[in-house]
């Protein structure tokens, strides 16, 4: 019933748009450039409602989870800068702020500043911009609420082969105590090292496959220190995409899976595994349905958590997205189930940004 009301609301919203062409005038060609003095500025809002007995990622029934202020501009002919400031009930945070040198001699690229680590594929997407109201259980177990970020240097290059193959290395400060569930720096000199390589192959005009492997190493969190001074993460991710280019705005399918293994540096240290997989199918211009399965060991407690999530997504325009999601989790330690329902609404104001890929 609630879903029907939601569908009706969405339809009413869609049909309320009246035809009113924008006022326009003919003009000689001006330079295609909004402003030299000001960077491109946009705000992404993430509003979310939650209900149920398992609100591990959201306590409040209604919450403006985050307002992201994104600033982007060319610094000079060689570099661009990106700043993403996050405003939430927890305060203001520089979620990312980095300078990218676009082309180094030899065809590389370098980034310096604070950025999301190049570990896996999902970690690099801001929480509000993923299809989900929460983060998959394995990314929470091994990356924490905010994922794996660092302040430091990233180098990347495209390997000269017939298909796309890249290699990336990050080195930066290790996460502070309490930020991540695997890594925790003793001092500001402790470093986080990340390496990643990924390949992308077009299977046909409509389908492609992206495969990546990742590795991360830093000082272990105190709860894991008995298993070695350093903790290590290894990951593998696989993404399949299908979209007929003749009907690209109406039908698409994304299937993604990511596996993570954690192990301390001591000889014979135990390992913990987690993975998730999801499929997102677009069946109409504005509509998608999706499902996700999660399974992960926990880093500090025994037992395993599993979860399933289903979602229906409605996109009134390119600039807003509404998603109704239901999740059930099971904790093998307590043999208890947890249920949650989310209504996620994200919206974007400002210049037209890049389409997510």
């Amino acid at each position: 019933m609630r879903f029907r009301i939601l569908l009706l609301s969405c339809t009413l919203l869609a049909t309320s748009f009246a035809a009113a062409p924008a006022s326009a005038q003919d003009a000689a060609a001006p330079p295609g450039n909004a402003s030299i003095a000001n960077p491109a500025t946009s705000v992404i809002g993430w509003f979310q409602a939650a209900a149920g007995n398992d609100r591990r990622t959201q306590d409040q029934a209604f919450d403006l989870r985050e307002a992201e202020l994104a600033l982007q501009s060319a610094v000079d002919p060689y570099a661009k800068a990106d700043f993403i400031l996050s405003f939430s009930s927890a305060g203001v945070d520089v979620e990312e702020g980095y300078l990218t040198w676009l082309s180094l001699p030899g065809g590389g690229q370098a980034k310096i500043g604070k950025f999301r680590g190049d570990f896996g594929k999902f970690n690099r997407t801001h929480a509000g911009e993923t299809p989900f109201a929460d983060r998959p259980l394995s990314t929470l177990a091994f990356g924490g609420e905010e994922g794996l970020s660092t302040t430091g240097l990233a180098l990347s290059a495209i390997v000269p082969t017939a298909f796309y193959w890249d290699v990336t290395a990050n080195v930066g400060t290790a996460p502070e105590v309490g930020v991540n569930r695997v890594f925790a720096a003793d001092t500001g000199r402790d470093l986080l090292w990340i390496g990643r390589s990924s390949a992308f192959v077009d299977l046909s005009e409509a389908s492609n496959l992206n495969l990546g492997i990742s590795y991360a190493n830093a000082r272990a969190d105190s709860m894991l220190r008995a298993e070695g001074a350093h903790a290590q993460l290894a990951g593998a991710d696989l993404t399949f995409r299908w979209k007929n280019p003749r009907r690209s705005i109406y039908r698409s399918l994304t299937v993604q899976s990511e596996f993570t293994r954690e192990q301390g540096s001591a000889a014979g240290a135990p390992s913990r595994n987690g993975w998730f997989g999801y499929a997102l199918y677009q069946f109409a211009r504005r509509w998608k349905v999706g499902a996700r399965y999660d399974s992960t060991d926990r880093t500090t407690l025994a037992g395993r958590e599993r979860g399933v999530l289903g979602l229906v997504q409605f996109q009134p325009s390119e600039f807003s997205l509404l998603s109704l999601q239901a999740r059930r989790t099971h904790d093998s330690l307590t043999d208890a189930d947890g249920d949650a329902v989310f209504l996620k609404w994200t919206f974007n104001i400002g210049p037209h940004g890049a389409h997510p890929y």
Partner: protein
């Protein structure tokens, strides 16, 4: 895991990754002034631009288009495989006016190719010499997905092929000055042939009585075509750019079209034809699904083919046949 599987551990170490990374970065880059005498690699965002680049560049260029002519050029996936082409490109040509804003800028900045970055000699905005129309006086998303720098579908006025060819010619000369005479001659020849064809299409438009003809189009792709031939676009199936038609809007449109005077309903091949077909059935106004780009149909290989085919299909629709 890592202690028992040494091979995996070795592969995963940062040392290995850094070695791969440095190896890739030390592959010698090709300096811009080394372009003379070799076949230039030209990458365009659309097949229209690719066709014109082939006309100007002749056998001195190898041209590839990132999108296909049957795709909606607003919504092309920024696939990493395009970076392989862009990394080797000597010249990058875009339609501009934010047509490709959702996918091309990220590809260019991710290409690690300084030759084609914005402002570099190998970066061509083909709209630079175009008299752009429909530049909004105010820009607001309440108007839909408007293009703040004007309508980018200028290649559907065939006369605009000439300034685009000149912009590409200038770009080719910047990256390979030694071939300037060759590119100048080919560009002049293209402009001459295009001028003859434009006169022919103008004659066809007059025969069809396009001047003053009332039409409805799906998206604002046809504004330049309409301006060139005097078509009067009275409404759109899409209520605002990028916003799909609602049942209310379709109902209003059908009622308006039933009053008469609309000669043809024009749509692009990449939109779902079911709503336009229903409007056509309900109103009796013929539907013409017209190509918007080179490559939109198998038989459209050149910029000349595009307009020949477009006029042929428009003629069929206006004479009551299936377009």
């Amino acid at each position: 895991m890592f202690t028992t599987r040494r091979t995996f551990r070795t592969l995963c170490t940062l040392r290995t990754l850094c070695t791969l990374l440095l190896g890739a970065m030390l592959v010698p880059a090709i300096p811009a002034d080394a372009a003379a005498g070799k076949t230039l690699s030209v990458v365009t965002t659309t097949e229209d631009l690719a066709a014109i680049a082939r006309e100007v560049g002749g056998d001195h260029v190898a041209v590839a288009s990132l999108s296909r002519g049957y795709q909606d050029p607003h919504f092309v996936d920024a696939k990493p495989s395009y970076l392989v082409q862009l990394k080797k490109a000597d010249l990058f040509v875009e339609v501009g006016r934010e047509l490709e804003v959702g996918w091309a800028p990220g590809l260019v900045s991710g290409s690690r190719n300084a030759r084609i970055l914005p402002g570099a000699p190998g970066h061509v905005d083909a709209s630079a010499q175009i008299a752009v129309i429909e530049v909004p006086t105010t820009v607001s998303r309440s108007q839909g997905d408007v293009h703040p720098f004007g309508n980018p579908h200028y290649l559907l006025d065939p006369a605009n092929g000439a300034p685009v060819a000149r912009a590409i010619r200038d770009g080719l000369i910047r990256v390979s000055p030694a071939d300037a005479a060759y590119f100048n001659a080919r560009c002049a020849d293209f402009e001459k042939r295009l001028g003859v064809a434009v006169a022919r299409w103008k004659g066809q438009a007059a025969t069809l009585g396009l001047n003053g003809m009332k039409v409805v189009t799906y998206h604002r792709s046809w504004s330049y075509f309409a301006k060139a031939y005097g078509l009067n676009v009275v409404d759109f199936i899409e209520p605002r750019p990028g916003i799909p038609p609602s049942p209310n809007h379709v109902g209003d449109l059908v009622n308006e079209m039933k009053k008469g005077g609309i000669r043809v309903l024009i749509m692009e091949p990449f939109f779902d034809a079911r709503v336009p077909q229903k409007i056509s059935r309900d109103t009796g106004v013929p539907l013409a699904i017209l190509p918007t780009s080179v490559g939109a149909e198998d038989s459209i290989h050149t910029y000349f083919d595009l307009f020949d085919r477009l006029f042929a299909e428009l003629t069929t629709a206006l004479k009551g046949g299936k377009a």
